[in-house]
C-alpha cells in the first residue's frame, strides 16, 4: 500500500480498502474500496446479490473480511462483533427493523442504556422522555416520545431507529433499504430525515434499490456488481441510465440451453387481478412458453405468484384457465387446476426437513396418484426413485431426511412435485437461488424439456441474465404493478432494469 495513504484518508470519516469476502466457494466481494467523506450521504447501489449487504455487514462488525481493512479516524479497525462497531460510532439500521413494538419511542431509544433513577436499579422515565425529546428536536424531528412503536408508520420507525443509533453516539449511519416498505409520502419523510441528519453532522451510507431516491439524496454513489465496486463518483455527474448500465454490466455471459419450441394455445389469462400487495395484474401464458417475471426485491413478484396460487386472497380480477374462469381460493384449488407453485423459501414453506425426502416430493400429488386415502408405500417409493432419475437428483435414497440434501437437490425435490403431478402451469419462484451452477443448468434443461411437452412456465427471477437466457417474454413488476410486458428478443437488460428501478411518474 501507498505510504501517503493515511494523510489522504484523513478527509474520510470511514474507509474500507480492498475488502474481499467469500462464503464457501462463492466470492461475495472482491477488492472493494469505499471511502466516505465526513458529513455526506453516500449512496450504495447494485442489483440483488451484488454484495451490498455483505459489505455493510462487514462494516457493522457482523462479518469479518477475508482480506482488506477498515480505517476509522486514521486507525485500522478490526471489529469482532456489532457492539465493537457501535462503540466506534458505526451503526446499522436493518431492513427488518429491530425495534420492540410494545415499548414506547423513548424506551426503544434508550433500550439497554437507560438513564438511571434515584434508587439503584431503577431508571428515570422522566429523564428518558426529556432526553428523547431533546435529541429529536436537535435533529429537527417532531415526535411523541411516549408513543408506542407499534402504532407508528414505517417511516417514523426509521426515525426512531436513527435516534436510537445517535443516542449511542453513532457518527456513521448505515441505512439498508429504509424505503422498501414505504409509500410515496413516507419516502419523502425518510429522505427529509436523511437530509436533517446530514445537516446535524452525521455521515450516512444509504442503500436503496430505488435509484431516483439515491440520486436525489446522495453526494457520492458507489455501484457494486458481482461483488466488485464498478463505479464511484459524485451523484451530480451520474444519470440514472448510467447507473443502470453500471449495475447490469456487459460482460456477463452464461450458458443457457434454450430450446426452440413452438408456442401453442393460450392456457392462462389473468386480468385485473389484485390482492393486498399487487394491483391490476393482467397477462397471458401459452403452452410451450416461458415467461419471466423481473423486478426488484419487494416489487410484488412473489405476491403475484401467491395470489395466483391461492396463497393470498384475490380482491378482484379473474383467472381463466384454457378459456374457463376458475376460482382459486387455496393451494389445493391451484393444484387441482394443474398449477404448481414452487416456493422461493424452500426451508420455510417448501420442505419437511426432518422427514423422509420423498415426502417433500410426493405430498401434494398423493391424491392424484390414487392414494387419496390409503398410501401405497412401494409405489410411492418407485415413483420417487423414477422422478429422481429424471431430475438427476443426488440423494441417499427416498427415506433419507430432506435436510441431508444440498440446496440444489432440495430444489429438485420441489420441482419433482410438478413432474409427478404433470402440472400444466409451473410457477417457479427464484428456482435457481442459492444453488450451484451444475444444478442450475439441470433446472434450465428440465424447464426446456417441459415446455417441449407443452407445459407453460412462469418464472420469477432476480437474475436478469437468466431470464434473458431462457424466457420468451419478460413481465416487469414495480411496487405491486405490472409495468412491462416485453418480448425478450426485442428488449435489453438495461430496459428491464430501468423499468424495474425507476419510477416513471416521479421523473
Amino acid at each position: 500500500m501507498n505510504l501517503s495513504f493515511p494523510m489522504e484518508s484523513s478527509q474520510f470519516v470511514i474507509e474500507m480498502r480492498g475488502i474481499c469476502k467469500s462464503f464457501g466457494s462463492v466470492k461475495a466481494l472482491e477488492d472493494v474500496t469505499l471511502q466516505v467523506p465526513q458529513g455526506t450521504v453516500h449512496g450504495l447501489v447494485g442489483a440483488n446479490g451484488a454484495g451490498k449487504s455483505t459489505l455493510m455487514k462487514i462494516l457493522a462488525g457482523l462479518h469479518r473480511p477475508d482480506s482488506g481493512e477498515i480505517v476509522r479516524k486514521g486507525k485500522i479497525c478490526s471489529w469482532k462483533n456489532p457492539s465493537e462497531a457501535i462503540a466506534s460510532g458505526v451503526a446499522m439500521i436493518y431492513q427488518e427493523l429491530s425495534l420492540a413494538p410494545d415499548l414506547t419511542v423513548a424506551e426503544n431509544v434508550w433500550l439497554g442504556i437507560e438513564p438511571s433513577g434515584r434508587v439503584c436499579g431503577t431508571y428515570s422515565k422522566k429523564r428518558m422522555l426529556e432526553d428523547t425529546l431533546a435529541l429529536a428536536e436537535k435533529h429537527g424531528f417532531n415526535l411523541d416520545p411516549d408513543q408506542k412503536v407499534e402504532n407508528l408508520p414505517a417511516s417514523v420507525c426509521q426515525i426512531v431507529e436513527a435516534l436510537k443509533a445517535i443516542a449511542r453516539n453513532a457518527e456513521i449511519l448505515v441505512m439498508d433499504e429504509p424505503t422498501s416498505s414505504c409509500g410515496e409520502k413516507e419516502v419523502a419523510i425518510i429522505l427529509e430525515m436523511v437530509r436533517r441528519l446530514r445537516g446535524a453532522g452525521t455521515t450516512i451510507i444509504y442503500i436503496s434499490h430505488r435509484l431516483e431516491e439515491v440520486v436525489e439524496v446522495a453526494e457520492n454513489i458507489t455501484v457494486l456488481r458481482d461483488g466488485r465496486a464498478v463505479h464511484t463518483g459524485p451523484a451530480k455527474d451520474l444519470k440514472i441510465v448510467d447507473i443502470v448500465t453500471h449495475m447490469v454490466g456487459r460482460d456477463v455471459q452464461h450458458y443457457f440451453p434454450k430450446r426452440e419450441v413452438e408456442i401453442g394455445s393460450r392456457v392462462l389469462r389473468v386480468s385485473g387481478l389484485s390482492s393486498s400487495s399487487v394491483r391490476d395484474i393482467g397477462f397471458d401464458l401459452r403452452r410451450g412458453e416461458i415467461v419471466g417475471v423481473a423486478g426488484l426485491v419487494g416489487a410484488g413478484r412473489t405476491e403475484l405468484a401467491r395470489v395466483l396460487c391461492g396463497l393470498d386472497e384475490a380482491i378482484c380480477g379473474s383467472v381463466e384457465l384454457e378459456g374457463k374462469e376458475v376460482m382459486i381460493e387455496n393451494p389445493a384449488d391451484a393444484l387441482s387446476c394443474g398449477i404448481m407453485y414452487v416456493t422461493e423459501d424452500r426451508k420455510r414453506t417448501g420442505l419437511f426437513l426432518d422427514c423422509p425426502a420423498l415426502w417433500s416430493m410426493t405430498l401434494p400429488c398423493l391424491a392424484q396418484l390414487g392414494m387419496k386415502y390409503i398410501l401405497k408405500l412401494d409405489r410411492e417409493n418407485e415413483i420417487a426413485e423414477e422422478t429422481a432419475g429424471k431430475l438427476s437428483l443426488k440423494w441417499l435414497g427416498p427415506q433419507a431426511p430432506a435436510n441431508s440434501l444440498s440446496g440444489g437437490n432440495q430444489q429438485k425435490l420441489l420441482l419433482g412435485r410438478a413432474l409427478i403431478a404433470q402440472s400444466l402451469i409451473w410457477v417457479l419462484d427464484e428456482p435457481t437461488r442459492g444453488i450451484d451452477i451444475a444444478a442450475k443448468v439441470d433446472i434450465y434443461e428440465l424447464i426446456g424439456r417441459m415446455v417441449e411437452k407443452g407445459k407453460a412456465i412462469l418464472m420469477i427471477s432476480s437474475e436478469l441474465p437468466e431470464l434473458f437466457g431462457i424466457a420468451d417474454r419478460i413481465l416487469v413488476m414495480r411496487r405491486g404493478r405490472l409495468v412491462g410486458n416485453l418480448v425478450t428478443s426485442q428488449t435489453t437488460q438495461e430496459a428491464v432494469m430501468h423499468l424495474a428501478a425507476v419510477d416513471q411518474e416521479r421523473k
Partner: protein, 318 residues
C-alpha cells in the same frame, strides 16, 4: 449402529425395567396374571395416549383429555340410568356407550375447532376446554358419582381368556399405527407437525386435518372413559384428574417431540407400558403411591434426556 440403538432405546428402557423387576420379585412379578393385570391397567391411559400421539405429532397438545374422560363417563352413565335406572339392559348400555364415544369425539372436535378457527394456541385452547369439561362433569350430578352396577363387560369381560380392555388396547394400537403410516391423513399429520407452512403450500387442508386429529384424540378418550367407568362400575366426575400429564409423558417417553413432526405408535405403547410396569413394580415392592411419583418423575426426565442425547449424537454423526 447408532440408529439401531436409538430405535431400540425406548424398548431398551422397558426391557431393563422388566428385567430388574423380574430379578427382584420373581414370584409375584413374573406371572401371566400380573402381566395381564398390568396391561389391563395400562389400557385406559394407553388408548388415550394413542390419540395424544396424533395430537403431539401434529405439533399440538391436548390438556383436556383427563376432564373429557370424566365428562364422557358421566354422560354415558347419565343416559343409562336416566333411561333404565340402576340395572340397564344391554341395549341401553350400548346406547350409553355410543353416547360416551360421541361425547368424546365432539369434545375433541371442539378443541380442534377452537385451535383452527379461532387460531388459539393448542395449549391455551385445551386449557380452556379442560376446565369447561371438568366443570360440566361436576355440575351434572352435583359432584356425585353415578353407579351403573351392570356395566361390567369392558372392565371385567374377556375374549378367549384375554381381558376385553386388553383386546381393545391391541386393536386400537394396530389401527392407530395403520392410520399414521398407511393413510394420507396420517402423512398429513406428520407434515403439519413438521412444517405447517409447507404443508399448507402443498395443498394440505390444515384446518380440516387438525380438527380430525383432535376429534380422533377425543374419540379415543371416550373409549378410555368407557373402560374406566366399566372397571369401577361407576362414573366419577373427578375421574382422570392429572391424566393428561401421564398420557403426555407416555407419548414423550416414546420419543415424540412436543414441537411436532416426530413420534410413533410403538414409542407410545412402550412409554405407556414403562409407566405401568414401574407403578406395578413399585406396588409389589411396597413403595407407597406417593413415593411412586418420585420414581416416575425421575424416569421421565431420564428417558427423555437420554433420547435427546442419542438423537443429538446421531445428527452429529450424520
Amino acid at each position: 449402529m447408532n440408529k439401531l440403538f436409538r430405535e431400540l432405546l425406548p424398548f431398551g428402557s422397558l426391557i431393563l425395567v422388566i428385567a430388574i423387576l423380574s430379578l427382584w420379585q420373581p414370584e409375584s412379578f413374573l406371572t401371566l396374571d400380573n402381566f395381564l393385570n398390568v396391561l389391563r391397567r395400562s389400557s385406559v391411559y394407553g388408548i388415550i395416549a394413542l390419540g395424544m400421539t396424533f395430537v403431539i405429532i401434529s405439533g399440538g397438545i391436548d390438556l383436556s383429555v383427563g376432564s373429557l374422560l370424566a365428562l364422557c363417563g358421566m354422560l354415558a352413565a347419565g343416559v343409562m340410568i336416566g333411561i333404565a335406572g340402576q340395572e340397564p339392559s344391554s341395549g341401553v348400555m350400548i346406547l350409553g356407550t355410543a353416547i360416551g364415544l360421541l361425547a368424546g369425539a365432539v369434545g375433541g372436535a371442539l378443541s380442534g375447532a377452537l385451535i383452527t378457527k379461532l387460531k388459539l394456541q393448542p395449549f391455551i385452547a385445551t386449557l380452556g376446554t379442560m376446565s369447561l369439561y371438568r366443570g360440566i362433569a361436576l355440575v351434572m350430578y352435583d359432584g356425585q358419582p353415578i353407579n351403573v352396577a351392570s356395566y361390567r363387560y369392558l372392565g371385567e369381560g374377556s375374549l378367549l381368556g384375554i381381558p376385553v380392555s386388553v383386546v381393545l388396547f391391541v386393536v386400537v394400537t394396530v389401527m392407530s399405527g395403520a392410520i399414521l403410516h398407511f393413510t394420507r391423513f396420517g402423512r398429513h399429520v406428520y407434515a403439519i407437525g413438521s412444517n405447517v407452512q409447507a404443508a399448507y403450500h402443498a395443498g394440505v387442508k390444515v384446518d380440516r386435518s387438525l380438527i380430525g386429529v383432535y376429534l380422533l384424540g377425543g374419540l379415543l378418550t371416550g373409549l378410555g372413559a368407557m373402560i374406566a367407568m366399566s372397571r369401577t362400575v361407576s362414573a366419577q366426575p373427578t375421574a382422570g384428574v392429572g391424566a393428561e400429564l401421564d398420557v403426555i409423558a407416555a407419548v414423550v417417553i416414546g420419543g415424540a417431540s412436543l414441537s411436532g413432526g416426530r413420534g410413533t405408535v410403538t414409542g407410545t405403547i412402550v412409554g405407556s407400558l414403562l409407566i405401568s410396569f414401574l407403578r406395578n413394580g413399585c406396588t409389589l415392592m411396597g413403595i407407597s403411591t406417593n413415593a411412586q411419583l418420585i420414581v416416575i418423575g425421575v424416569v421421565i426426565v431420564f428417558a427423555v434426556a437420554l433420547d435427546q442425547f442419542t438423537r443429538r449424537k446421531a445428527s452429529d454423526a450424520a
